[in-house]
Symmetry: C2
Subunit: 218 residues, 2 copies
């Protein structure tokens, strides 16, 4: 692993500075009170540059929580031995990464769940696993159809999104009234591990079929 060169290191440093500044300011002053201008100033860059890194004000905040999760999930999949079913490898990898790195501080989690734009951005962030995961799955299915890996990865991302959505079931959200109401507050509904398992289960046959086609067994 070679050193990425000064340009790339500064890039990552700026990303990280924006992330931490956004989260800090959101915790200090409330998520809805933080302006892009403030985050940029705290990170030492121009507001324009902020939008070169993040497309919305919320992305930087959620990025502080989800940082690197995309590549870690993919790496976790690649780490499983080829002997385990691909469906299991993916599920285990997702659960592993979402449960070990997911729960920073309770305060941060509440910050995200309490403001609906942040919740939305948090859910959208799960789509980020699609590309890295595509590569990891493709490595396991070298002979599969051209788009098989992409479709499977995108499906996993969608399933994860739904799992997290259910987990963060917002109280008073009439489209899913089973949420736990705590006076306007939003609380996790059930265990994240269970939600992920349930959401990913329906995809297992698709993985099995793709694997079957790739390595037709005797």
């Amino acid at each position: 692993m070679t050193t990425p060169g000064l340009r790339e290191r500064k890039r990552q440093a700026t990303r990280e500075a924006l992330r931490t500044a956004a989260l800090r300011l959101a915790l200090e002053h409330g998520a809805s009170k933080v302006r892009v201008e403030d985050i940029a100033a705290a990170a030492g860059v121009s507001p324009r540059t902020y939008n070169n890194y993040f497309a919305s004000r919320e992305q930087a905040i959620v990025s502080a929580v989800t940082a690197g999760r995309e590549t870690r999930v993919a790496a976790a999949v690649a780490r499983r031995p080829p002997t385990v079913r691909l469906a299991d490898a993916v599920t285990e990898a997702v659960v592993e990464q979402y449960t070990t790195t997911g729960q920073h501080e309770l305060e941060t989690l509440l910050l995200i769940t309490t403001w609906s734009p942040l919740r939305k951005a948090f859910l959208d962030a799960s789509a980020g696993i699609e590309l890295p995961l595509t590569a990891a799955i493709a490595a396991r299915l070298p002979d599969a159809g051209a788009h098989t890996a992409r479709v499977l990865a995108a499906s996993v991302a969608a399933a994860v999104r739904i799992a997290v959505e259910n987990w963060l079931q917002p109280a008073g959200d009439d489209t899913s009234p089973e949420g736990f109401d705590t006076g306007g507050l939003v609380v996790p509904f059930g265990s994240l591990t269970d939600q992920l398992g349930t959401a990913l289960a329906p995809l297992a046959p698709a993985f099995d079929a793709a694997e079957e086609q790739a390595h037709p067994e005797a």
Copy 2:
């Protein structure tokens, strides 16, 4: 005075970081042992960027000492009331700036005098006053010939260079054997104020003549 904008502020910050890093490293490890790469790394930029700011390894070090002197001399000239002779205004301004801001720490001064490439760079730095000084002189001679101010400013720069050169009379330099020999060490020779006065004196008639032509008195 408006805020110069983020881009310009970062520029100046980089300049300053390079200056201080260069001086610090030179004091710590010896001037001849400092590589451009080290200075750049300490300032957080690439070696290529160092040479965007300074044309030689020595310039950053001397720049740490002469920082801003160019504009301050010009400002000091502009500050004198129009009633005083231009020749006196310039001389006073030069002496004022070179004696009040010139002597940082003795250690730094020795650093510069002990290594001849640094001495040379230090002397070359005096040419930097030419452009700002041109503007200041031109402001006092609005009706003079097109190049008069430039010529006078360049002459002042040359005179200053000679004054400083005499002041730093290197021991054992055969071209000027009157230096004070201290076993290979280089020591100031006479007072800087005197040297500047002596070097600038021959230019006074030129200033007087230019002023005369600009404001023909009764």
